[in-house]
């Protein structure tokens, strides 16, 4: 997956977790929490969805990398580089 494809995948996961939110104007450099109504259970949903969809394992002490879209894509890029986008 390319960084753009990873971003698209995260948007798809977020749209499931926060179906009432408009994600079209999401700023990649601002934290998710600044822009969306997300709590710790929602972040665990992102972790779980990545695990279920792509078998990507994210250790608990690395959850901090999921703070913003930019940091999430940067963190996931090496882990998802070899995954072929559906």
């Amino acid at each position: 997956m390319t960084p753009a494809e990873i971003r698209e995948e995260i948007i798809d996961i977020l749209s499931e977790i926060t179906p009432d939110e408009d994600l079209s104007g999401l700023d990649d450099e601002k934290s998710f929490r600044e822009q969306l109504e997300l709590d710790s259970m929602d972040f665990l949903d992102i972790v779980m969805e990545l695990r279920k969809r792509h078998r990507v394992q994210i250790p608990e002490d690395e959850y901090g990398n999921l703070a913003s879209m930019g940091s999430t894509v940067t963190y996931l890029e090496p882990k998802m580089r070899d995954i072929v986008a559906a």
């Binding site: 977790i17 926060t18 179906p19 009432d20 259970m41 665990l44 779980m48 695990r51």
Partner: protein, 419 residues
């Protein structure tokens, strides 16, 4: 008008009245629609499919769920929470309460459930099958969704209620048990408003269907609308349904102080136990429960106008309840008996509350809704006064007695009076 029952003699702060009703039923998502369906013979049972069991029948509720709950919270929570939030919000909206200024720390939520947690547990096990049963794929939402207080807790979260909230597990007597808990907590001054009744999400658990099927107690019929047929010779079991019905209960003194529209008064109740079998009913104990409620309210059987029966459409259950009712109501020529499950199936934890609600408009229109789908009345169920297939107009309706029984031998009765 004055009444002779014992509750009428109590001080107003010990008398408990209904000032709001919110519900969703398979044949109506508010009391007016539900009542109209009951008077018009409109069933809410349809074809239904659920994993592993396959094609079957169920009562399914349709309502505008996003009216009171975000899609995010719906995803986060349970169906029991969603139907509960709908019923609680509708009850408040119809109560005339100035909700924004109600002290939420003095509101109690008491919700009866037959079971809770089966739906989510089944879903998770089904989900991790795709991952070779690796439990690292098990949802972190499982525990908050399956704790027994979940349906009441979701109502509290949604409505900002900070008083006590919990569920009452009472099998299929739970709807009545929730109401009774609300009455007791108001009398004990544990709260000033009680949101009380019952909910059910049971159509979303295959285990309920499969277990009734294994027991030989799951209804089947070519025409879904005719599948739930209590008292009929050809009845062959239960139609499982979802639903919710919650009441706003207040002390009469408080209701008067805010000039509330008082719908009815809860004048008595009783709960007892068979202690004889896991599943089979005990008509002697059922009769004792009805008599206990009558006696506690200072009432005698022929003062009751309508008896809302529990009968579910099983061979033994229906006839045994009728045996109990024959004992209690022998010689009472003016009592009308009906059954709501014949229209909507068995709404499980909601049944007691929802079946009472459908009868409450009788205080105004003096019509007893029928029991439908009785083509050949079973002689064992032929109690005098049974209202069959067409509604019956009555000269008066002052008292309604509501039966609701459940597995492990729990029996419950609630008696309400016109106000």
């Amino acid at each position: 008008m004055s009444f002779a029952d014992r509750t009428s003699q109590l001080p107003d702060d010990q008398r408990i009245v209904i000032t709001g009703i919110g519900l969703t039923s398979p044949n109506g998502h508010n009391l007016e629609m539900f009542r109209e369906s009951l008077l018009n013979g409109q069933s809410g049972v349809r074809n239904y499919n659920i994993r592993y069991v396959g094609d079957t029948l169920a009562g399914v509720c349709e309502f505008e769920s996003t009216k009171y709950q975000s899609r995010r919270d719906m995803r986060r929570g349970t169906r029991a929470g969603t139907v509960g939030i709908w019923a609680a919000s509708e009850a408040v909206a119809r109560s005339g309460l100035d909700w924004a200024n109600v002290d939420k720390s003095r509101v109690g939520i008491y919700i009866g459930v037959t079971e809770h947690g089966n739906v989510e547990t089944e879903n998770e096990i089904h989900s991790i099958k795709a991952y070779d049963y690796d439990v690292s794929y098990w949802s972190h939402h499982h525990n908050p969704r399956t704790v027994a207080n979940n349906p009441a807790g979701e109502v509290a979260l949604n409505m900002g209620i900070t008083g006590p909230h919990y569920t009452i597990g009472a099998a299929c007597a739970a709807g009545n048990a929730g109401i009774i808990q609300g009455v007791q907590m108001l009398r004990l001054n544990e709260c000033d408003l009680a949101i009380a009744g019952g909910v059910s999400e049971s159509i979303h658990t295959f285990g309920i269907f499969a277990s009734f099927k294994s027991q030989g107690a799951l209804a089947s019929h070519q025409d879904p609308t005719k599948a739930s047929r209590p008292f009929d010779k050809s009845r062959n079991g239960i139609v499982v349904s979802e639903g919710a019905c919650l009441y706003i209960l207040e002390r009469l003194s408080d209701a008067k102080a805010r000039s509330a529209n008082i719908i009815a008064e809860i004048v008595s109740y009783a709960i007892n136990t068979d202690a004889t079998d896991f599943v089979l009913p005990n008509p002697e104990r059922q009769a004792q429960c009805v008599n206990l409620a009558l006696g506690r309210g200072g009432l005698v059987a022929d003062q009751i106008d309508i008896v809302s029966t529990h009968a579910t459409g099983t061979s033994t259950g229906d006839s045994q309840e009728c045996l109990a009712l024959r004992t209690v109501f022998a010689g009472c020529d003016n009592v009308s008996f009906n059954n709501t499950k014949s229209f909507i199936g068995h709404t499980m934890g909601a049944a007691g509350a929802i079946e009472l609600a459908g009868n409450i408009p009788s205080f105004q229109d003096r019509v007893c809704h029928a029991t439908i789908n009785v083509d050949n009345l079973d002689e064992e169920c032929a109690i005098p006064g049974l209202v069959l297939n067409q509604p019956k107009e009555r000269n008066k309706v002052d008292y309604i007695l509501n039966n609701s029984f459940g597995m492990l031998g729990i029996n419950s009765v609630v008696i309400v009076r016109r106000f």
